[in-house]
């Protein structure tokens, strides 16, 4: 049960090239719906620029945004699968090649604190590997911009805070930072796990296509409530006022300690650039 590592590397390379220039179909559709329903002229002015931007990026094969991000790669590896070669160097090589070929921006420094020299090839990727039942691998790739990631937040709530506490934490974060995070936002909310896992959940939540049923009426209702309340802030596209502050809110949850209610809010900009690919053996 072997899976060639180079197939994962190729998937990462191709996902980077495609995602940097082309909006996810679900995101583009949400943006088009927003442009049709936005009532505030300045909000429409911003949304029309974003739609025009998406057309130019596809037609000219140029990046949607100058911040082509750092690369998050999440490999869900089938438990029965062996890789033929080391994974991390193969992924970093794919990232370096894709960023050079795609003429993307190199936005990674060697060390956050002690050596902020640019690595000049956008490596290393942020790599997560988890196991899932079965064979093959599912590869998720996301290019996350710095401006929206800076707007993210994490709070450790008391367990009794419940749904209301989570709702307040999300709205507080949106009010505080949404205007610099390139709204309309795609907000990922991770609840549970622990301090670190909540953050991962919040990012994973952005992978689910907008409009895809999460098969849980309670969760769907909560996501819809959060979206309504975020849009009721009037922050609007580009933070210049409007009906459309967010395109979607996705909530991903997990078990956690009896004393805890960790909440992470991952601010996705209007252009969440990601792709998920299933590789069979």
């Amino acid at each position: 049960m072997f899976l060639e590592t180079k197939r994962i590397a190729e998937a990462v390379h191709d996902a980077i090239i495609a995602a940097s220039a082309e909006l996810r179909h679900d995101v583009l559709a949400a943006l088009q719906r927003a442009a049709e329903s936005e009532r505030f002229p300045r909000g429409r002015w911003a949304l029309e620029q974003l739609l025009q931007n998406a057309e130019i990026a596809v037609a000219d094969r140029v990046p949607l945004c100058q911040d082509t991000g750092s690369v998050w790669v999440w490999v869900e590896l089938g438990e029965k699968t062996c890789l033929t070669e080391p994974l991390k160097p193969a992924i970093d090589a794919a990232v370096a090649t894709a960023y050079r070929e795609g003429r993307l921006r190199m936005s990674v420094v060697r060390d956050a604190l002690f050596d902020r020299a640019n690595t000049s090839d956008n490596t290393p990727a942020l790599l997560d590997v988890t196991l899932r039942p079965g064979e093959g691998a599912t590869v998720h790739v996301m290019l996350k911009g710095g401006g929206s990631d800076n707007a993210s937040a994490l709070k450790m709530l008391a367990p009794t805070a419940g749904l209301d506490g989570v709702r307040e934490a999300v709205l507080d974060a949106v009010r505080a930072t949404a205007r610099s995070a390139c709204p309309p936002l795609f907000v990922g909310v991770g609840v549970g796990g622990g301090f670190d896992q909540a953050a991962k959940l919040s990012k994973q939540a952005l992978l689910r296509p907008i409009g895809q049923d999460c098969a849980d009426p309670e969760r769907t209702a909560f996501e819809e409530l959060l979206l309504r309340e975020i849009n009721a802030t009037g922050i609007g596209p580009a933070g210049l006022g409007g009906d459309t502050t967010a395109l979607a809110v996705h909530v991903k949850t997990a078990p956690c300690h009896i004393a805890s209610l960790p909440v992470a809010i991952n601010m996705g900009c209007y252009a969440i650039r990601s792709a998920s690919v299933c590789l069979s053996q």
Partner: protein, 188 residues
């Protein structure tokens, strides 16, 4: 309305928060590290802006490499608040305008009024579109910084909105109320 850069004093004084503009003329890219270096230079030689920046406009942006057949790659505004601590000093030394995205600190608002400067906001994430508004790019300084270098760009019809005017009027402070009035909502 088309606005020429660098701003002439009478034009600068007439701009008001909320006006949508098309910017044409020269701007200099500068983001985090370039700001820190310029602040260091100003500390050594107070009041003297290097690289011919006096009277000019800064664009907070780090572009992608140039696309084939174009002077520039994708280029859009980065978060302006990261430059807040440096901006009053740069306005005092003679920078007359800045272009970025997102709200600014009260200190920047005050500096716009005190020194007669303007902050324009462009739409974040519209970099493929905005890149088509760049007609030339000339490296100026700090090329060691790669995408964070100071580069002189010539713009034609670069869409933006006056976000803070030279009286200290702040669009980000009024945007939600503007929306609520227009659509008849009570903002929360």
């Amino acid at each position: 309305m088309t606005v020429k850069l660098p701003l002439q004093p009478d034009v600068l004084a007439s701009l008001r928060a909320g006006q949508q503009v098309l910017l044409s003329g020269s701007v200099f890219t500068a983001r985090d590290v370039a700001h820190a270096r310029l602040a260091e230079r100003l500390a050594q030689t107070p009041g003297h802006l290097p690289f011919g920046l006096a009277g000019q406009a800064l664009l907070y942006a780090g572009p992608t490499p140039p696309s084939p057949g174009r002077p520039a790659g994708s280029i859009g505004p980065t978060t302006a608040s990261r430059m807040d601590e440096f901006t009053p000093g740069l306005f005092a030394a003679g920078i007359t305008a800045a272009i970025g995205k997102g709200p600014r600190s009260p200190g920047v608002r005050d500096a716009c009024a005190k020194f007669g400067a303007v902050y324009f906001a462009a739409v974040g994430g519209a970099a493929a579109l905005l890149g088509t508004k760049v007609v030339s790019a000339t490296p100026v300084a700090y090329e060691d910084l790669g995408t964070e270098a100071i580069v002189r760009l010539e713009l034609v019809d670069f869409p933006a909105v006056v976000a803070i005017d030279s009286l200290g009027g702040d669009l980000y402070a009024s945007a939600v109320a503007d929306w609520a009035t227009e659509v008849g909502e009570v903002s929360s």
